[in-house]
């Protein structure tokens, strides 16, 4: 009969099997999206290389404070959703909806903030056709905003379902997929913000 020492039992209990949250397909999509954004960032930098003066002058018209606040909003959103997943893992089923609602509300806050920023630009007569920088500004922030809208819709669906106690530690594949996507939205903004708003010229 196999007998284990106390140390072996403790070690065996501590080791958690390595796994990806959700399903593998979501990670393929997340990886592909990340690569596409990396290519967009490189193309933006190449455009900047040929016209640094226009990019620097245009950057100064952006609302850096609003961009920074947007970053804080999305980080808080990601944190709230991560807490929601932790709650599900521990079968704290009543707590998960409030954390997911936090994710939804912060997602909506980001949309409002971006709308204010776009409105400011349009009011000043700035549009994608203004110059290369603004073409990139509206493209990168616009594609990212579509990700935010899609993610917030998914989080709303999760929130509604979690209120009906549809998820638990044994049924959390869908919440994990949505949460992973939402964290992607967060990390993309973490790079887009300095790229557009903070990148000073020499």
């Amino acid at each position: 009969m196999l007998t284990l020492s106390r140390t072996e039992v403790r070690t065996a209990n501590r080791v958690t099997p390595r796994r990806l949250p959700g399903v593998d397909g979501v990670w393929v999509a997340i990886g592909a999206d990340s690569v596409i954004f990396a290519i967009l960032f490189a193309t933006f930098m190449q455009a900047r290389l040929h016209n640094p003066a226009v990019f620097e002058a245009s950057r100064h018209t952006l609302n850096m404070n609003l961009g920074g606040i947007d970053t804080l909003i999305l980080l808080t959103s990601s944190w709230s959703v991560a807490l929601g997943i932790q709650a599900l893992k521990r079968d704290l089923i009543d707590r998960a909806p409030r954390y997911l609602l936090g994710g939804v509300l912060t997602g909506l806050m980001f949309m409002v903030s971006k709308s204010i920023e776009y409105f400011e630009k349009f009011a000043k007569g700035i549009a994608p056709a203004t110059n290369d920088f603004f073409m990139w500004y509206f493209t990168l922030t616009g594609i990212h905003l579509l990700h935010v809208v899609f993610g917030t819709s998914l989080l709303t669906y999760l929130w509604v379902r979690s209120r009906r106690r549809a998820y638990s530690s044994l049924h959390r594949v869908v919440p994990e997929c949505v949460a992973s996507y939402w964290h992607l939205v967060d990390l993309l903004w973490i790079m887009i913000f300095p790229l557009l708003y903070l990148q000073r010229a020499v």
Binding site: F41, M45, T71, R95, A201
Partner: protein, 91 residues
């Protein structure tokens, strides 16, 4: 589940502080452009890395997947900084 004791909460606090440092600190004219831009993108890569490890739970992912995803912030930051240093100075 005390929220304050959760690892994700510590990570979130750290990320919030780093965001304030880059947005309202490094972006000011106190530093040379090269120091500011390198600092800003290194911090951005570190932030992305922590989002991946702790929010996306890649800390416990299979090693090859973790390595592949962790390469993204490094490659992106190096690429951006490479272009930045190659860009001619404003006259």
């Amino acid at each position: 589940m005390p929220v304050l004791r959760e690892r994700v909460t510590m990570v979130w606090l750290g990320l919030m502080v780093l965001t304030c440092v880059t947005t309202w600190g490094l972006s000011k004219d106190l530093f040379s452009p090269a120091v500011a831009v390198v600092g800003i993108f290194v911090i951005a890569a570190v932030k992305v890395s922590y989002v991946m490890l702790d929010f996306m739970e890649l800390r416990n992912a299979p090693i090859p997947v973790r390595v592949a995803f962790q390469a993204w912030p490094v490659v992106v930051a190096v690429m951006i900084l490479g272009f930045w240093f190659a860009t001619p100075a404003l006259v």
